[in-house]
C-alpha cells in the first residue's frame, strides 16, 4: 500500500541512498589516496555486517553477538581458495610436502584435509561464502528459535559460539593457520590482488556489492516480511496468534544477516590478502554491533555511516591517542544506549529532518519561487495501491 507517508519514506530512502552511493563511489575515491581508500574499503566490509545487524537486531529484535563468526566464515571460505591457488607445487617446492599451504607444512601435515578439497574450485568457494554462514546460522536459528529462545539468552549463546570458534581456529593451527590466520594471499585466478590498481578495483567491487546489499535489505524491509518483522519486535505473541510462524521469520532474517556478513568477510579477504581469528571473536563481534547502534539500529543507511564513522574515529584515535581509544569506545557504547538509542539516524530524523522543509522553503523563497507544502509531496487522494 502506498500512502503519502510511505511514499515520502520511499523517496527519502532513495535520496539518502543516492547520496551514500555518490559518497562512496565518487567523493571518497576522488579525495583519498589508495592507502586511505583501502582503509575505507575495510570499513565498508564491516558495513555488510552492520546492515545485517539492522535487519536482525533492529527490526527482528534478535541481538546476535556472534556476527564475527559469519564474517570470518565468509572470509575463510575465500581465503582457503586463494591460499590453495598460491600454494602450487612449484611455489611451495621447498616444503617437505609441496602443494599444500605453508602453515600445514609447518605443522607436519602431509596431505590436504578433506574439508579443504572443495575449495580448489572458485565457484564452490564463491557459493560457500554465502551458503556456509547461512547454513550455520540456520542450524543455530532452528535450534534456538524453534524453542522460543530469544533476547538475552540468544545473545549469550551466540557470544559463546564466537568464543568457541576463536579457540577452535587458534587451537587447530595445522588446519586453519592458527592465530595468524590464512595469510600471504596473492592472486585471484592469476590476477595479482596486491597492486594498487587491483585494490582500487576491489574497492569499487566492494562498494557496489554493499549498495546491492542495501537494496536487498530495503526490499526485504518494505515487503510484507519486513512488516511482520516489525510486528514481531513489537508484540511477538500477537503475531504468533495471528497464525505466523515467528520462528521461521527469525531464522530467515538471521540467515540473511549471516550471509551478508559472509560477503563482507570475503571482501575483506580479497582487499587485504588475509583472514585471521581476530575478526571472529567476542570483541570484534560486539564492535560490529556498535557500528549498527551508532548508525541507528533502524536505519540500513545509518549502519553504513556508523561503520564508516566509528572505524574512522578508531583509526584517528588509535594513531594519535592510543590510550584514549578504549575510553572513547566505552563511552560511545554507553552514550549510544543511554542518550541516543536510535543512533545517528535517530538524531537525523529528530533534529535535521524537521528542518529540511524549512530550509527548502527558505531556499525557494530567496529565489523567488513559491514554497511547496511541508513534506514536498502532493498527495493524491483516492489513489491507493493495494498490494
Amino acid at each position: 500500500m502506498t500512502t503519502p507517508q510511505t511514499a515520502t519514506a520511499e523517496r527519502s530512502f532513495w535520496i539518502g541512498f543516492t547520496i551514500l552511493a555518490a559518497l562512496i563511489l565518487l567523493v571518497l575515491p576522488l579525495m583519498l589516496d589508495v592507502f586511505r581508500l583501502n582503509l575505507v574499503g575495510r570499513y565498508l566490509t564491516y558495513a555488510f555486517v552492520a546492515v545485517g545487524l539492522v535487519l536482525c537486531w533492529g527490526y527482528g529484535g534478535i541481538l546476535s553477538l556472534g556476527q564475527g563468526v559469519f564474517f570470518g566464515l565468509g572470509g575463510y571460505c575465500l581465503a582457503m581458495f586463494l591460499k590453495l591457488e598460491s600454494s602450487t607445487p612449484e611455489a611451495t617446492a621447498i616444503q617437505s610436502t609441496p602443494g599444500i599451504p605453508d602453515f600445514m607444512d609447518w605443522n607436519q601435515i602431509t596431505a590436504l584435509p578433506w574439508f579443504w578439497e572443495p575449495f580448489k574450485s572458485l565457484p564452490v568457494a564463491l557459493i560457500a561464502i554465502v551458503v556456509v554462514p547461512a547454513v550455520f546460522a540456520y542450524v543455530i536459528g532452528v535450534a534456538m528459535f524453534k524453542r522460543r529462545v530469544g533476547g538475552v539468552y540468544f545473545a549469550i549463546i551466540t557470544q559463546a559460539i564466537a568464543a568457541i570458534m576463536t579457540i577452535l581456529i587458534i587451537g587447530q593451527q595445522g588446519y586453519t593457520g592458527g592465530i595468524n590466520g590464512i595469510t600471504d594471499l596473492r592472486t585471484l585466478l592469476g590476477w595479482d590482488i596486491r597492486t594498487d590498481s587491483a585494490k582500487t578495483i576491489l574497492y569499487f567491487v566492494n562498494a557496489l556489492l554493499l549498495l546491492a546489499t542495501l537494496v536487498l535489505a530495503r526490499w526485504i524491509l518494505t515487503s510484507r516480511l519486513g512488516r511482520i518483522l516489525v510486528a514481531m519486535r513489537g508484540k511477538e505473541d500477537r503475531v504468533r496468534f495471528s497464525g505466523y510462524s515467528v520462528a521461521n521469520f527469525k531464522i530467515f532474517v538471521f540467515c540473511v544477516a549471516a550471509a551478508m556478513s559472509g560477503i563482507g568477510g570475503a571482501m575483506f579477504t580479497l582487499q587485504f590478502g588475509f583472514m585471521s581469528p581476530s575478526f571472529v571473536g567476542i570483541v570484534p563481534s560486539i564492535e560490529m554491533v556498535i557500528f549498527a547502534a551508532v548508525g541507528g539500529r533502524l536505519s540500513i543507511l545509518g549502519a553504513v555511516y556508523g561503520a564508516l564513522i566509528v572505524n574512522w574515529a578508531k583509526s584517528i584515535f588509535s594513531e594519535a591517542f592510543p590510550e584514549l581509544w578504549l575510553l572513547a569506545m566505552g563511552g560511545l557504547f554507553i552514550a549510544v544506549v543511554m542518550a541516543f538509542p536510535n543512533g545517528l539516524a535517530g538524531l537525523y530524523s529528530v533534529y535535521v529532518a524537521p528542518m529540511l522543509p524549512r530550509i527548502r522553503a527558505w531556499a525557494m523563497s530567496t529565489r523567488g519561487l513559491p514554497a511547496r507544502d511541508t513534506d514536498g509531496q502532493i498527495s493524491k487522494p483516492g489513489v491507493t495501491h493495494a498490494r
Binding site: 537486531w57 541481538l63 553477538l65 543455530i140 535450534a143 534456538m144 524453542r147 522460543r148 529462545v149 533476547g151 538475552v152 539468552y153 545473545a155 549469550i156 549463546i157 557470544q159 559463546a160 559460539i161 568464543a163 568457541i164 579457540i167 577452535l168 587458534i170 587451537g171 567476542i282 570483541v283 560486539i286 554491533v289 556498535i290 547502534a293 590510550e323 584514549l324 578504549l326 575510553l327 569506545m329 566505552g330 563511552g331 560511545l332 557504547f333 554507553i334 549510544v336 544506549v337 543511554m338 538509542p341
Partner: protein, 308 residues
C-alpha cells in the same frame, strides 16, 4: 592411551585431574555466584562482571604491596584485609554504576548488555593506565605456599585448598544473606514481584541497588581469591565472561544451587578432558557441549517452575 601406566598411577592421574577440576570449580563458582545474583535474580546482563573481578584482584595486589612495604610483620594476614577491601570497593563501584546507568535500563536488557560492555572497556583502560599493561602477581604469604603429599603421587597445593575453602565459605555466606536474612527475603521479593514488593513497603529502587552491589562485591572477592592461583592483567576479565555466563545459564538462571552444580559439571569435564586432549580442544568440547545442551534445554539444568 594408558600403556605403561599401572592402575595406581592411573588412579593418581584421575585424582590429580579431579583436584585440578575442583580448583577450577571453585574459580567458576566464585565467578558465577555474583553473576547469578545480578543476572539470574535481577535479569541484568553485566558484561563488566569480569572487570569487577579484576578490580578485586588489583585491590588485593595494592593491599599486599602496602602490607609488604609498611607492616611486613602482618604480611601473613594481608589477604583477609584485602578480601574485605575488595568486597567493599567493588560493591561501592557497583552501587554507583547501578545508580548512574543500570537503573535506567531495567526494561531494555539488550541495551544493558551494550552499556555494560562499554563500561568494561572503560574499566579496562583505567586498569591499564593505573597498573600498566603487564600482568601483575601478588606474593603469597609463606603459609599458603607449597603443597602436601597425600601419597607419593598425589600432591595437593595449599593455595588451591585455601581457594576451595574460601569458595565454600562465600557460598555459605551468600546463602545466609539471600535465604536466611530479612534483607534477602526483601531482595527476592523484589525480584519475584516488583509491584507487590513495593506495595508492602519495600523500597524497590534501593533493593535493586544493594542487590547489584552485592553481586559486584562478590565478584570483587572472587578476583581477590584469583590472585592466589594466578596473575592479573587489565584484560583478564574478558577471558572469564563467556565461561561465567555459560555457567550461570547452564545451571538455570534463577537457581543458585543450579549455578553451583553446573560449575561442578563444567569444571570437572573440562579438567578431565584436558588430560586427554590439548587444553584448547578440551575447552572447545566443553563449551560446545554446554551450548548444544542449552539449545536442547534452554531453561538450563535446574529451573524453577514458574508460571510465565
Amino acid at each position: 592411551m594408558f600403556e605403561g601406566y599401572t592402575l595406581g598411577e592411573i588412579g593418581s592421574i584421575f585424582a590429580m585431574q579431579g583436584f585440578a577440576g575442583l580448583i577450577l570449580f571453585s574459580v567458576f563458582v566464585l565467578m558465577a555466584l555474583g553473576l547469578a545474583i545480578i543476572f539470574g535474580q535481577m535479569g541484568v546482563i553485566n558484561m563488566a562482571h569480569g572487570e569487577f573481578m579484576i578490580l578485586g584482584a588489583y585491590v588485593t595486589f595494592v593491599t599486599s604491596n602496602v602490607f609488604a612495604d609498611s607492616m611486613p610483620a602482618l604480611f601473613g594476614g594481608y589477604f583477609f584485609v584485602a578480601m574485605v577491601l575488595a568486597f567493599f570497593i567493588a560493591a561501592g563501584v557497583g552501587a554507583f554504576v547501578e545508580w548512574a546507568m543500570i537503573r535506567h535500563l531495567y526494561h531494555r536488557p539488550l541495551d544493558t548488555l551494550l552499556a555494560t560492555w562499554g563500561l568494561s572497556l572503560i574499566l579496562q583502560q583505567i586498569f591499564r593506565s593505573v597498573f600498566g599493561a603487564r600482568e601483575v602477581g601478588v606474593t603469597l604469604p609463606d603459609w599458603l605456599m607449597g603443597s602436601f603429599g597425600l601419597t607419593d603421587l598425589i600432591e595437593v597445593p595449599i593455595n588451591g585448598l585455601f581457594v576451595m575453602a574460601l569458595t565454600l565459605l562465600i557460598s555459605f555466606v551468600v546463602y545466609l544473606i539471600l535465604f536466611r536474612s530479612r534483607w534477602g527475603s526483601q531482595s527476592r521479593a523484589v525480584v519475584q514481584n516488583r509491584a507487590m514488593a513495593g506495595a508492602v513497603g519495600i523500597d524497590t529502587g534501593r533493593m535493586d541497588r544493594l542487590t547489584f552491589a552485592l553481586g559486584c562485591g562478590i565478584a570483587g572477592v572472587a578476583g581477590s581469591a584469583f590472585t592466589m592461583i594466578g596473575s592479573t592483567g587489565p584484560t583478564a576479565g574478558q577471558l572469564y565472561i563467556v565461561d561465567t555466563f555459560l555457567v550461570v545459564v547452564f545451571g538455570g538462571a534463577q537457581s543458585l544451587l543450579g549455578t553451583i552444580a553446573s560449575a561442578f559439571v563444567i569444571s570437572q569435564s573440562q579438567s578431565t578432558m584436558e588430560f586427554f586432549l590439548s587444553g584448547s580442544m578440551a575447552k572447545v568440547l566443553t563449551l560446545l557441549t554446554v551450548v548444544v545442551i542449552l539449545m536442547l534445554r534452554p531453561q538450563g539444568l535446574f529451573s524453577l517452575k514458574l508460571r510465565r
